[in-house]
Each structure stands twice: as structure tokens, then as C-alpha cells.
């Protein structure tokens, strides 16, 4: 049966068996294989679609290991089909799941057990990863880079890439080794550690967002058109009043306005629209400066 080519219709009716035709446990995965699969994990989202999400890329990244583990072709077919189903986690933490799952495949654990662990791991790791990398590491390294870039310094992008990828590549290689060597035992430790790490990351992240708000949100009234006179004294609304209350008062107020709107369930797209409107109306009535004519 293994030699016959299967069609789409047959695939849809396939029930993946829980056990293997060849249940012999062989330790075949080497350090080299693990690292090869870390590199392939960079293609995790290569077949991304809304039905299976990362399922295709996940399987692609495991192929060298699965091929070595399942020398029986039928077993390999079921292993591939099983892994091709829905999968979605954070790309920087996926190697941990890979490590754990590879150790289980190598031990020829029941397919349903492997599937269960895979699904149980991907969700929480996805949430943690979003918070740690997209919402903390990226703004921090980006913010550091931008502080150089805004002066036209080429080391802005270079420093950004170095800092970001040091963390990125250290993590994906370390997590693969850790996940594979510790197996399912790693899951509990991982959970505790990520809790502590995300607490620390939130602290640093919030401090950086506070700094970024003050430095990089540019929201100020045009001084020359927005001033008034008291007797002989000319008062500039922006520099004379608002900045005296607190520097960056309007930027921080607007950031919290956005935060409030998002909390209320408004989408970022709505906020982008509102921001464009405020800019255009504000400029039309003279609150904001106009650029010099383009030559």
C-alpha cells in the first residue's frame, strides 16, 4: 500500500494511525541535524495561509529529522501528513517546540501524544513570543537604532541589526538544543522562566516606550501663527505655555488617547485615519506648520 501513489481524495479520508509499522527506537538525530533544522526553521512562514497557517513551513523545517527517524515510508508519510496540519506559534520560539517534538518522534511516542504536545505548546509560546519580541525587543533595538539614524548615522541600522539578531539567533539555536535534550520535562521550566523574563522585559519595554514617546512623537502647534499679545508681551502658545507645563505634553496625551481608543476596541486603522484627519484639518486651520514649496 505504501508504494501506491495517493490522491487528494484518499488523503482527505486518511485516518492517521496512532502507532508505527516500525516501532524500533533509534537515536539518529545528531547535533548537526538539529542545527540544520534551526536554519530551515527560518522558512517557518514560507507556506503561510489562513487555513493551516505555519503548518507547511513547520513540516519543511522538520523534514531532515523526520526522514532520518522514520525509515519506513508509510510511517514517514503519516508523520509528514500529521505535521502538515494547522500550526501557529512565534517564529523565534518555534525551535523549542521543534526540539521537544523531535525528541518525541525519535522515541516513537504515539502520534496523538505528539500532536497533543505540539498543540499545547504552540498557543502559549505564540503569546509570549509576541510580547517578548514584537512588543519589547523590537521597540528597544529599533529605538536605539533610530536615535543614531535621526542624525543620519549609518550605524543606526547596523547597530539595530546586530542587537536584534544577536538575541534572535542565540535564542533559536539555544532553544532547539534545550527542547531536544530536555524533552517534555523542559515545558514546566520553560513556563516558569518565561514568566520571569516577560516581567523584566515589560519593565524595560515600558521605560523605552516612555522615552520614545517623549523623543519621537512630534505634535506641536506652529509658533508663529498661534500666539497672542498681552500688552507688550507676545505669548507663543506652544513654547510659552504648553511646553512650560510639561515638555512633550501633547505627545504623551495623544499616545494615551490612542491607548484608550485601542482598549475600547477601535482598530489601529481607525486611529491612522483619525491621525491623518487631525493633521489635515489642523494644517488647514493653521494649527500646524506648512512645508516650504518644493523646487
Amino acid at each position: 500500500m505504501a508504494s501506491e501513489e495517493k490522491t487528494l481524495k484518499q488523503v482527505e479520508q486518511t485516518q492517521i494511525p496512532d502507532t508505527y509499522q516500525d516501532p524500533t527506537v533509534r537515536k539518529v538525530i545528531t547535533e548537526k541535524d538539529l542545527h540544520k533544522m534551526v536554519w530551515r526553521s527560518l522558512m517557518l512562514q514560507s507556506s503561510f495561509n489562513y487555513e493551516r497557517m505555519q503548518g507547511g513551513g513547520w513540516t519543511y523545517s522538520l523534514i531532515p529529522g523526520l526522514k532520518k527517524i522514520h525509515q519506513n515510508k508509510t510511517d514517514l508519510g503519516y508523520a509528514l501528513l500529521d505535521n502538515l496540519q494547522f500550526f501557529n506559534t512565534h517564529p523565534f520560539l518555534v525551535t523549542f517546540v521543534q526540539g521537544v517534538i523531535l525528541a518525541m518522534e525519535e522515541n516513537k511516542e504515539n502520534r496523538s501524544t505528539i500532536r497533543g504536545i505540539k498543540v499545547a505548546l504552540m498557543g502559549p509560546l505564540g503569546g509570549i513570543g509576541d510580547a517578548l519580541f514584537w512588543l519589547t525587543l523590537l521597540p528597544i533595538t529599533g529605538g536605539i537604532g533610530v536615535s543614531l539614524s535621526e542624525q543620519g548615522n549609518i550605524f543606526g541600522p547596523i547597530l539595530f541589526l546586530i542587537l536584534f539578531n544577536l538575541v534572535h539567533f542565540f535564542l533559536i539555536f539555544w532553544l532547539m538544543d534545550y527542547g531536544y535534550h530536555t524533552g517534555t520535562r523542559a515545558i514546566a521550566t520553560m513556563r516558569e522562566k518565561t514568566q520571569e523574563i516577560s516581567r523584566a522585559a515589560t519593565m524595560v519595554g515600558l521605560a523605552v516606550v516612555g522615552g520614545l514617546t517623549a523623543s519621537y512623537v512630534k505634535l506641536a502647534f506652529n509658533g508663529t501663527t498661534n500666539s497672542f499679545s498681552i500688552g507688550k508681551m507676545k505669548m507663543n502658545i506652544q513654547t510659552g505655555i504648553i511646553d512650560k507645563i510639561m515638555p512633550a505634553l501633547m505627545p504623551v496625551a495623544y499616545v494615551f488617547f490612542c491607548y484608550w481608543m485601542l482598549k475600547k476596541g477601535r482598530s489601529p486603522l481607525t486611529l491612522i485615519g483619525i491621525t491623518l484627519l487631525i493633521g489635515l484639518i489642523g494644517a488647514a486651520v493653521g494649527l500646524f506648520a506648512w512645508p516650504a514649496a518644493i523646487k
Partner: protein, 272 residues
């Protein structure tokens, strides 16, 4: 300025590479801070490119693919924004205001692609059950190839026709509208920062936001020293909690100290 066909090809090539990196590789060469510098170098104006890239980077600080949901496309935002800044001599913030609508349009195209790619998954199922790993290996490159070609075109065409088509168009725009884009572009990072706060904000951690804000607004500190100071406090907090845990007696203390445990549990369910 005039753009040669070679320069336009290079811009397209970079846009294509960046489009692949935004989903595969994730070395983050696709971020505007890098794209701005690269396009600036290609067009012979590295300084304008670097500065514009930095401005665009902040706008996308919080616009990230949370749980796979697509934000306004960061690659096309970086490419178009930098092209406008250089070819039409717009200020970086004005270029941001113009780039954002383009990136929203491309966001829709990406959503379309991710919907249309589902049949490939079923083709992979067939190959998988038959144990044909080589076929899966090949199919894995279909989507990156589509992304490359699509973004190559979206980078190449505006770069080639930028000075002849886009610049006259931009010149025809009334100054108050450009002023509006400039103001909006300056405010725009606030949307991203608001998104960051939505996920990270908790009253318990608010002192860190306040400290970071004061350090930048009053003390005029750079972001790097602010991050390092905050990291020092976070490390202190970590070790203090470790000590509390180890001296906590027989019952195992919660991971982040007794006083904050409830909050941390809640934190988790929020996805932090």
C-alpha cells in the same frame, strides 16, 4: 533627481528581498530603518535615506504581526516613504504621511495572498502522505517567490517613474495638504506606541513608563541609556524575587514574588 534603470532595478531587488525577510528569515533587514538606508545608498543620498528610515521605523514600532494578524505593510511603507523623501524632496515626516496609505493597500494584498495559498497546503498533504519530501521542499518556495516578484514590481515601478510621475503629482498638491501629511506623519508613531501600551501597560509597571518619559523629556537622555537603566532595575527585581523565593521556607513561592503573583497570572492570560 533622475533615477537610472539600474538604480530602479536595485530598489526593486531590495524590496523583493525585504518582502521575503518579513515572513521568512526575519533578520529584520526588512524594517524601514534598514530599507531607508539601503535605498538612500542606491539613490546616492544615504543621509536622507537613513533619517527617513528612522522616522518610518518609529511609525511601525507597534504595528507588528500580533498572532498572525497583518499590520499595514512595513516593507512597502519603508520603500515608498524613502522614495518620496528622496525623489520628491519631502521632509521625512511628510513622506511618512504619504507612505502609510500605500502600506494599508498592500496589507490587503497580503491578506489576499494568504487566503489564496490554501490549495498549496492540500497539495502538500498529498506529497506528505506519499512521503515525497522533495516535493514539499520545492513547494515551500512558491509563496516566497510570489512575494519577491510582487514586491520587486512595487519597488521597481515607483523608483523608475518616481521623478517623472510622482514628483509633478506631489508638486500639484496644495501646501496645506502637505502640511497635514507632515503633521500626521509626526504624530503617527503615537498609534504604534499606543498599541505597545495596550499590551504592556499595567499600573504596577507604570513607574517605568514615567521614569523613561522623564529621562527623555527633561533629562534629554538617549534611548540606549534609558533601556540600560531600566534593565538594571529589572535585574535587581529579578534577584530580589529569587532571594524571596529561596528564603520562602517549605512552600514554593510564586515565580515573581508574593505581592505580584495575582497580577502576573493575569499578565499571562493577556498574552504577556
Amino acid at each position: 533627481m533622475e533615477v537610472s534603470i539600474w538604480q530602479a532595478l536595485l530598489v526593486g531587488l531590495w524590496a523583493g528581498i525585504a518582502a521575503i525577510d518579513q515572513f521568512n528569515g526575519l533578520t529584520h533587514i526588512h524594517r524601514p530603518i534598514v530599507t531607508g538606508a539601503v535605498i538612500g545608498i542606491i539613490l546616492g543620498q544615504p543621509t536622507v535615506g537613513i533619517i527617513t528610515g528612522g522616522t518610518l521605523e518609529l511609525v511601525w514600532a507597534g504595528m507588528v504581526p500580533l498572532a498572525g494578524a497583518q499590520p499595514p505593510n512595513v516593507v512597502i511603507g519603508g520603500v515608498i516613504g524613502t522614495l518620496f523623501a528622496i525623489l520628491s524632496k519631502l521632509s521625512p515626516t511628510t513622506a511618512v504621511g504619504i507612505a502609510v496609505p500605500f502600506s494599508v493597500a498592500v496589507q490587503a494584498l497580503i491578506t489576499l495572498l494568504f487566503t489564496g495559498m490554501a490549495p498549496v497546503a492540500h497539495a502538500m498533504d498529498v506529497a506528505g502522505l506519499n512521503g515525497e519530501t522533495k516535493t514539499i521542499d520545492r513547494m515551500a518556495w512558491i509563496e516566497p517567490a510570489i512575494l519577491f516578484v510582487g514586491f520587486f514590481i512595487m519597488g521597481f515601478l515607483p523608483a523608475l517613474f518616481g521623478s517623472n510621475v510622482i514628483t509633478p503629482m506631489v508638486k500639484a498638491i496644495p501646501l496645506w495638504i502637505l502640511g497635514g501629511f507632515q503633521a500626521a506623519g509626526g504624530i503617527m508613531p503615537a498609534v504604534g506606541f499606543g498599541m505597545l501600551l495596550k499590551i504592556m501597560w499595567k499600573v504596577e509597571y507604570a513607574p517605568f513608563f514615567v521614569a523613561g518619559f522623564i529621562a527623555a523629556a527633561y533629562l534629554k537622555m538617549e534611548i540606549l541609556p534609558i533601556a540600560l537603566l531600566a534593565a538594571a532595575f529589572a535585574a535587581y527585581d529579578y534577584f530580589a524575587n529569587q532571594n524571596r523565593k529561596s528564603s520562602g521556607g517549605g512552600t514554593p513561592a510564586p515565580a515573581s514574588g508574593p505581592s505580584t503573583d495575582d497580577d502576573d497570572e493575569e499578565d499571562y492570560s493577556n498574552g504577556i
